[in-house]
Structures are given as structure tokens and as C-alpha cells.
């Protein structure tokens, strides 16, 4: 059975969110209570993920469900990122990028907690 666009999107976003936290398949599998092979199959788009499991995955990866299902990437990063930084030198583009990605992640996380 061919994969739907939604399934492919979910697969890609699970990979993205897992890789951002630098978790292995095993670690994510243990956090949500399934086998690592199941996570691999979901990310490869070979297996459809149930709504219940997706909710578990979203919780473990600290994202709202919309992060996985919305057709446009959730890039509405916190416009007003409030943070305190401990800098040794100057702030580079790389650092700014990491801060923005982290702020986006935390924002998605607070949406998942509100849901």
C-alpha cells in the first residue's frame, strides 16, 4: 500500500525531532515502550503509527502533535525569545541559530503540555 503524504510527513518529522535531541532508536523506543525496530519502521515510512503511539512519541520528544501532522513546518519560532545567555566572546550566527532552534523546540513543547 502506498504511503500517504501525511505518513511520509510524520515519518520525516519523527526523525527530525529525534535527531535534534540526539537520541538513538533504542532510547526513543524505551521512552515510549516499543521495540527499536518499530521506531525504525515508522521513520522509514514502512509502518503506520497509531494515534496513541504518536502521542507518546510527541511527549518523549517534547513536541506538540501538530509538529508531526501540520502540512507546513512549525517554524513560527518565538518572535520574542526570552533568554539569558552566558557568553565567553561574541555571539556568532551558529550560536544564534542554535538558540532559535532551541526556542522553537521549547515553544513546541509548551504547546504539547497545554494540549
Amino acid at each position: 500500500m502506498p504511503n500517504t503524504a501525511t505518513e511520509q510527513r510524520i515519518a520525516a518529522r519523527v526523525t527530525e525531532a529525534r535527531e535534534y535531541l540526539e537520541l538513538s532508536y533504542d532510547e526513543l523506543a524505551e521512552m515510549v515502550g516499543v521495540e527499536a525496530s518499530e521506531i525504525q519502521a515508522i521513520e522509514a515510512g514502512d509502518e503506520q503509527v497509531s494515534a496513541a503511539l504518536l502521542a507518546e512519541i510527541a511527549k518523549a520528544l517534547g513536541r506538540g502533535i501538530e509538529f508531526f501532522t501540520a502540512d507546513v513546518p512549525v517554524q513560527k519560532a518565538a518572535e520574542r525569545t526570552e533568554f539569558l545567555a552566558r557568553a565567553a566572546e561574541t555571539l556568532s550566527d551558529q550560536d544564534m541559530g542554535e538558540l532559535q532552534r532551541f526556542a522553537t523546540y521549547l515553544k513546541s513543547r509548551s504547546e504539547s503540555a497545554a494540549a
Binding site: 535534534y20 535531541l21 540526539e22 537520541l23 532510547e27 524505551e30 521512552m31 515510549v32 515502550g33 518523549a60 517534547g62 518565538a78 520574542r80 525569545t81 526570552e82 533568554f83 539569558l84 545567555a85 552566558r86 557568553a87 565567553a88 566572546e89 561574541t90 555571539l91 556568532s92 551558529q94 550560536d95 542554535e98 538558540l99 532551541f102 526556542a103 523546540y105 521549547l106 515553544k107 513543547r109 509548551s110 503540555a113 497545554a114
Partner: protein, 345 residues
């Protein structure tokens, strides 16, 4: 009137002591590698901690409904721990991101040489967070605990070699440890100045670190009887020198009781005797490098080779860890536990 900087230092230190009580840091010390587990404290507060490669930043704290702390992977563990404690200070003291503009980044205490008048309140917040971090990671009782275990006297604490080993056991940088000793009146301000003139790499070179490693972030541990039965966390790349004093003239030698754990490589082994002293104790020295992540114990017994019973034994339990990356280990553990908690209930 008490000056504002001093008041901020006191506030930061008081907040750190309060959190230590809440988390029972002191009671749990032996299960946290005999140092204060700052990453677990953050995970307990449900603050997500993430390690990413940052150039100039040591770390950042992002406030909000779901607060988070980012730590640079490009710094040694001691600096990462201090940064985490500093950000924990911001979190528990509920610091405002910035008083003038929410998007303004505020520099670290290191680079705050002359605060602008407009930034004075945020400058004080940084002072508070630094004082929090110092007291949280290096409380008086922790210094006393390690000094007592090793039989270090007050005057021993002016030795740079001992101080470096104390810093390793507390999981703090050499410099932060020197400041903590002065703050707690273990050493004078003169001793502090002298100690701060020494660079840890000079100390590491003297210990006999692997060639070239003294220049790097890798640490050089020296373990002896004072570390018996301790559960010590070291990083892949660190070296370990076991230094045991033996009654060789009476026939007693320190002999390995178990094979070297797989994650360590023994690089050298030697016995040295004080040259002018007949019958003086000799020192058995064994030198290892931590090559892989894992757990293992180095065990030795002090015995005459022809006798069955030993005079004494030591065991150094080592947890060898890779530097952290991505989501913190403490956050990962809590995430797994919360899942198990659900299943159990």
C-alpha cells in the same frame, strides 16, 4: 548599608543552600559520584537541558512555560557543570530575561567588566547566578568531605596538586575551586593569588599525563587509599594514576586483585622508593587511560606474595562516560522513569 553586589552574592548563595536542602543533595552524595548532580537537579525541576556545539556562548537559559537550558559541547565538563549551575540559579531565582529589552542577550559575568548603568540590575542577576553556582557546586561541606577522606589538612589545601585533585572530585574547575576555598576561609587571599597563577595544564604535565594530553580538556586523576570504594565519574580520554604506598621492606606489595577493566588501558606500571631512606615505604604506581565508555573497578590488595591473607584492599569504581550531546542524560533517565512509573501505576 550593605552594598548591592555583596547583597546579590548572599542572595545567590542562600538560594543555592535552599535548593540543596530540597533536593537532599548531601544525603544522596555517594550515589551521585560524590559531587553535586546539577544536571539531575535541572531535570527534577523539569527544565530540559540540551548540549549543542556553541562558539562563543557557554550556555543560555530560556524562560517560559517550558524552560530550557542549552550548554556548549565545546567546553570541558567542569565548565559545563558550572554553566548549568549558573542557569539553574537563573531558573530558581526566577530572573528576568532582560529589564530593558526581552531579546537582548546578556553577557556572562566573565565579560562584564564595566556594567552600564542601564544594565546594572541585570549585572546583579549575573552576580547572583554566579554566587548560586559557586555555592551549589562547591559547598563548604563538600570540600570538607573530600579533604577528610584524603586526610588533607588546611595547609595541604594550598598545594596546587592537591587542589587540582579536589577540583576533579567536586566536578568543578581548578579556578572555581580556588575561589571557593577562599570564600570558605580555607585559604588566604595571598594563597588564592598564588594558586590562580598556576595553570591546570602545568599540574597535569607534572602528573605525567599522556603526551600532548595536558594541553587538552582531558583530566589527570590520581587515586589513592582515600578514594577506596568511591564511585568516581571520569570522561573518556582522561588518565588515571593509581598511587599506593606499600610496606615493601616488610614484604608487602600492592598486587592487582582483578584484571584491568576493558574500558581502560594500562599504559605503565612502576615502583618508586624514596632514595635516601632505608626501609621507607615505596610507592606502587599504575597508569591508565580511559578509552571507552563503561563501568569497571580497579582493585588491589596489599599482601606478601607468599601469604594468603592481605593486609588491606582498595577498590576504585569508575564510571567512564562520553561527553554529553543532545538531550541531557539526566533528562533521558527521567523520561524513561516517567514511562515506567505510568506502567507500574
Amino acid at each position: 548599608m550593605i552594598d548591592p553586589i555583596r547583597r546579590s552574592r548572599l542572595r545567590g548563595a542562600a538560594a543555592a543552600e535552599k535548593i540543596q536542602k530540597v533536593l537532599e543533595v548531601r544525603q544522596r552524595l555517594t550515589s551521585t559520584h560524590e559531587r553535586v548532580d546539577v544536571f539531575d537537579a535541572l531535570a527534577w525541576l523539569d527544565v530540559r537541558v540540551i548540549f549543542k556545539p556553541l562558539d562563543g556562548l557557554l550556555g543560555a537559559y530560556i524562560r517560559g512555560e517550558q524552560p530550557g537550558v542549552m550548554i556548549s559541547t565545546r567546553r570541558p565538563l567542569s565548565v559545563q557543570r558550572f554553566t548549568a549551575a549558573h542557569e539553574l540559579g537563573h531558573a530558581v531565582m526566577n530572573h528576568e530575561p532582560s529589564l530593558d529589552s526581552p531579546t537582548v542577550l546578556r553577557r556572562a559575568a566573565y565579560s562584564q567588566k564595566s556594567p552600564k548603568v542601564s544594565g546594572f540590575a541585570s549585572y546583579l542577576q549575573e552576580i547572583e547566578a554566579d554566587a548560586f553556582a559557586g555555592t551549589f557546586l562547591l559547598p563548604n561541606w563538600l570540600i570538607t568531605y573530600h579533604a577528610w577522606k584524603h586526610g588533607w589538612s588546611r595547609s595541604d589545601l594550598t598545594s596546587e596538586d592537591i587542589l587540582y585533585q579536589l577540583a576533579l572530585r567536586c566536578g568543578a574547575s581548578y579556578q572555581a575551586t580556588v575561589w571557593a576555598l577562599e570564600r570558605n576561609n580555607f585559604i588566604s587571599d595571598t594563597a588564592r593569588t598564588q594558586l590562580l597563577n598556576v595553570e591546570p595544564k602545568q599540574i597535569k604535565q607534572r602528573i605525567g599525563h599522556v603526551r600532548g594530553a595536558a594541553e587538552t580538556r582531558y583530566d589527570a586523576w590520581v587515586l589513592n587509599e582515600g578514594d577506596d570504594k568511591a564511585d568516581i565519574a571520569i570522561t573518556v580520554g582522561d588518565t588515571v594514576t593509581v598511587d599506593l604506598s606499600q610496606q615493601a621492606s616488610a614484604g608487602y606489595l600492592w598486587i592487582p586483585k582483578a584484571p584491568t577493566p576493558a574500558s581502560l588501558t594500562e599504559l605503565d606500571s612502576s615502583v618508586s622508593v624514596a632514595p635516601d631512606l632505608v626501609g621507607a615505604p615505596s610507592t606502587r604506581r599504575a597508569f591508565y587511560r580511559a578509552d571507552n565508555q563503561g563501568f569497571g573497578s580497579l582493585r588491589f590488595e596489599h599482601k606478601r606474595q607468599w601469604e594468603r591473607n592481605s593486609l588491606g584492599e582498595v577498590a576504585f569504581n569508575l564510571s567512564i562516560m562520553e561527553p554529553e550531546h543532545g538531550l541531557s542524560r539526566a533528562n533521558r533517565i527521567r523520561q524513561r522513569q516517567s514511562r515506567k512509573g505510568v506502567n507500574a501505576g
